[in-house]
Each structure stands twice: as C-alpha cells, then as structure tokens.
Symmetry: C2
C-alpha cells in the first residue's frame, strides 16, 4: 500500500523481508537499551519471535529501492478473554530514526488494530529512558498507567523502570 | 520437600504430574473467569504452556495419597535485561480452595524466586473480580501498580480490569 508524501511504503511483511529486518533488529536487540530480549538472541529465535503467525500482523516500511528501514508487529496482548486488547512492537533502523518512520509505523499499526476490532492497545515494557519512544506514544494518545520500578538493566543507566502504556482505540 | 502441619507436600513437578494437573487446570481455564488463556485450549497446548523448561520452575502440592491439588510456576516476567523480575501463576483444584493451598504455594514460590536471585515479582493480569486472589497477593505484600481498564471479558461480570501487581523480594 503506497502512501504519498513519504519515500517509503508500509505493507505486510513476507518471509523474504526477514533478510532486510535482521541487520537492524539484531543491532537494536544487541545494544540492550530498549528491548527485553536476550541480547545474544540467535537469528532463528529472533525470526520466530518477530514474524509471528496470525492473529499477529507484521509490517515493514520499505524504500522504493526495496530496503527495509522499519518493522512493526501487532497482535493480542493476552489470550482468550483478554485478546481484545492489542500489543505492538516497533523496530526502526538506527540509520533512519528521526525521519518519521516510527510515527508512520505507529499510525499504521493503530489503524490496523482498530480494523481488527481491538478495543485498546497496551505496551507492557517501554524502557523509561527510551524518551523518544515514550514521547512518541504520548503524542499518539498513550498514557503511562504504571512504571514497574527497576525492572530493566540498562547498560549505561543501570536499573531503570519499565512503563506500562495504554490507549483506547 | 515435606512441610509439617499440612496434609500435602509442595515439590517440583515432574512429567508424570501432568495427569493430576490437567483435570483441574482445564476446569479453571474453561470457566474463563480468572485466566487469560483460550478457554478451548487443548491438553497439548496447556501442557506446553504450564510445564515450562528452565529457567522456569513448576511446583505441585500433593496429598499423601499422591493426589495433585494445586500447582504453580515461577520464571522471568521478561527476557534479557528484564529477567531479574519474576512472574508466577497458580492453579488450585476448586475442590480444595480455602484450605490454604494457594497461600502455601505462593509462599513456596516467593521463597524459590528469592533463592533464584529475582529482585521482585510481578503479575501482569490478575482479574480484578478475582477478589480472593487479589486479597491473597495483597496480604503477601503485593500492591496494585495499575489496573488495565476493561481488559478482561468476564463471562458474568462483563468487561473488568486486569491488575498489574508487584512486590519486591
């Protein structure tokens, strides 16, 4: 699906996109500053954890020359009687942050979640020192419901909190 | 490990215990009142979801005649830089609630989590109408950090909140 006014498209990911996702996803995870993933995650584990089957949807932001510069996934935050609240995760190539890719992916994911019938969206673990992400979610209507104290071992900031963030859809 | 003054032991679960767990675990899950699991979960899915490999620990409460009357699991609430906060889940045979099995399992799990070096314990989704569980956790030092509004579809109470609960260890 081409969106005008941007130099990239956002569309559903396919298996072939993984080769374009892994280089920056691995960089982000290995940095250990924003994700509660093992920093030594293998490519196979990461792929299984990111390219989730339905009801999850995985998106990529792709430049006209076919380069993946960001990705997002959205699905149920809980199962069964809790599956009407969505969860989502985002990874943007560090060489492209600040260009609005994260915000465009977020808006795309919010729209997809609405279309899928979710009533709200919840993030369980937004690192409080990831101020760019926290500010982005707040600007998109998310509020911090709680901060789990000292729940994240940041490589330079030490023990920092994890924000539980939420917005209705 | 035998504890005196009780008519049951609490010990690590083994594969053979599943046959004793599944009857009441399935009853609890199918009731759809307290767990964010699909109520139509298959036995195979439930087993994979409950008998988790290390670093998770799974316990059972067993009567002298070998009947499993409760079970609990404890492990990391998040991975990687978030794996120092524990998560835990509890299932007590409805024919044995009120007899202190839940509290005994909870105390056992808190002790195991401390021994494993976790700094705190977090529950992500305690159904707010599950007042017995909420009261038990509060009596054991947990506080409600947030209630995710309308995050659980209760079969008789409609949309109710999910409590995020937390205590240091």
């Amino acid at each position: 699906m081409v969106k005008s006014g941007r130099f990239y498209d956002i569309r559903l990911a396919n298996d072939d996109d993984w080769a374009g996702i892994w280089p920056f996803l691995s960089e982000i995870v290995r940095a250990g500053e924003t994700y509660t993933w093992r920093t030594d995650v293998t490519e196979q584990q990461a792929r299984a954890r990111w390219l989730l089957p339905r009801p999850w949807r995985v998106f990529v932001a792709v430049t006209p020359d076919g380069r993946v510069i960001g990705t997002a996934k959205v699905g149920p935050n809980q199962d069964g009687p809790g599956d009407h609240i969505a969860n989502a995760s985002f990874m943007v190539d560090p060489r492209n942050t600040g260009g609005g890719v994260g915000r465009a992916l977020a808006e795309h994911v919010l729209e997809a979640a609405r279309r899928d019938g979710y009533r709200a969206m919840q993030f369980n673990a937004v690192v409080e020192t990831n101020t760019r992400a926290v500010a982005l979610w707040q600007s998109l209507g998310f509020e911090i419901l709680a901060t789990i104290p000292e729940a994240f071992r940041h490589p330079t900031n030490g023990l920092v909190g994890l924000n539980v963030m939420y917005r209705k859809l």
